[in-house]
Amino acid sequence: MCLKYSRSSSLITMLDYKEIIVDHYKNPRNFGELEGADLTLDETNASCGDMIRIQVKTQKLKNSKTQNGEGDLVIVDMKWRGVGCAISTAAASMLSEKIVGMNKKDLEQYGEAGVVEMLGGEVNPGRMKCATLAYRGLLKIFENNG
C-alpha cells in the first residue's frame, strides 16, 4: 500500500487495505479447481454480487473429545474460485490456508472475530459481508455434511 494513503487522516478506513490484504488480493492462495474434491459449495453475497465456489477434501477423524462413532469431518485441503472485491478475495485466500485441519467446532470457535483478526483486526461494518463470504461458505459445508 502507498505510504501516501496511510499518512492521510483517513487511516481508519485505509487499514482495510493493509499490505497483507493487497498481497492476498493480487496473489490469491489456493485459487482454482480442486481435483478429487469431495465437497463443493457456492456462496454468494446477494447485495453486491460477489460469489465464491469452495471445494474441499475432507476426512473423518476420531477425536477423543467427541464420542460419535464415525468421527468429525475435518477439512484437509481447500481450493476456491470466484469474483469478489479485495476484502472478500483476501479473506478467502487467507482462510484457505487456515482451514486445513479444522473441524466444525474449530471453525465456529474461530468465528467472525477470527476472520476480522486475520484481516488485520479492523473491518468497516459495511464490508463484513465481504469479509465473511468464504467463512459462511465453509460453515455451510460443515452444516450440510456434519
Partner: protein, 428 residues
Amino acid sequence: MFDVEKVRNDFPILKRKIHGHDLVFLDSGATSQKPESVLSAMNDYYHNTNANIHRGVYELSSESTRLVDEARGKIAAFIGAKKEEIIFTRNASESINLVMYSWGKENIGSGDAVLVSRLEHHSNLVPWQELCREKGAELRIIDVDANGNLKMTGDEKKTVTENGLTVRLGSFESLLDDKIKMFAITGASNVLGTRPDIQNMIKRVKRATGEAKVLVDASQMVPHMKVNVNVLGADFLVFSGHKMLGPTGVGVLWGKNEILSKMKPFLFGGDMIGEVKLTGATWADIPSRFEAGTPDIAGIVGLGAAIDYLNKLGMENVQIYEKSLMDYALQKMSVLENEGVIKMYGPKDAEDRGGALPFNITGVHAHDAAQILDSFGIAVRSGQHCAAPLVTGFGVPAMVRVTFYIYNTIGEIDYLVEKIRNVPKVFA
C-alpha cells in the same frame, strides 16, 4: 439564477468532515440530504404542535390535522393532482405494494400479463413477480440495449418458466398486446439514469390494451424535474419523500380518484373505516381508506417543507442545474474512460438521462473503489443498487454509482475525478 453556494448553506450536514475531508455527498439517489427548513419544520412540530390527527377536537389535534392536510395539498399541487388522490405511505416500495395488493390481486388473473422493464428497481419488479406467480399471470420484461436504453423494437428474445412464473423478455413492441393489465415502469433508472420516453409508451400501451392500468415509479423523477400527472397519462405514480429533501418514513402514492375509489383497503385498522360494528366495518373514502393507523405526522410536515424548498428553487431551475452537472461529469468521466481508467454504463448523452452515473474503475471491485473514495470524504454507492438483473446484464457483479442533487458542485466533480485516479494506486 441558481446559486449553489446559497443552497449548500441550507444543508447543515455539508459542513461535516469525513475522515478529515469535506463531505462530498454523491449518493442522493439513495437518499438526499435535508435542508435546515425541513429539519426545523419537524422539530417545531414536535416542540409546539404534537398531537394525533383526526382524533381530538382540541386545539393541538386540529392544528396537527391541518398541517397534514396542508402538506397533502402541497404535494398534490407539486405534481398536478387532486388532494384526495395523494396517499401517504412509508416509501415508494410500500406504495407499489399497495397497488399490487389492492388493485393487482383483484384485477389480474390467469392468462393476463404484467409489463415491466429491466430498468426497474427491485421494488417495482419483485411485487409483480410474486403477483404473477400467485395468479398464473405472465410477467413481460422490456429488455435494455448495450447503452442502457429500453429496446423499443425487434424480436422477442426469450421465455423462461421457473417456479411457476413465466417471464417473457423482449422489445417493447414484441411484448405489447391486449393481455397486458398492468404496465409498471420507472420514469428514470436509479442505476443508469436512463429516462425512457414513458409518455409515448403509456399512450401506446393504452391504445393496444384499452383497459391496462399504468404505474410510474417516479422515485428518481419527482425530486429532479417537473412532473405533471395529467400530462403523463398514468393511473398511479409513486415516489419517496426522502429522496427529495424530506425525511425517511414518508412515501407517496398518487392514483386517479375513480380507480382508488373502487379499490379495497390495503391495511386495516384505525382511521380507514367508515362505520364499525362487532361483525364488520365499512371503509372510509380516499385517501383515509388507505392510511390505516397514525401516520408519520412529523415526517409529512417535513415533506411539506421540502416541497416548499423545491418550489422556491423552481423545478425547472433544479433540472437545468442538474443537467449542467451531468454534462460536466460525463465530459470529465469520458476522459477517464478514454484513458482506460474507468468504464461507464448507461446513455452517453445527458439529454437522455437523470442524475445517475454508474461506472467501474478498471481492475478494482466496486466496493473497494467506494471504500477508497470514502477515505477521501466522497460518498458513492456501490453494489447492485437494488437492480440485480440490470447490473448483471452488463456482465459485471457490481457498479459504483454517482448521483447528483441540487447541492453538488462542479468542484466536487473535479475532486471525484482526481480521486478516482488515485484508487488503482492502492492495489498497484
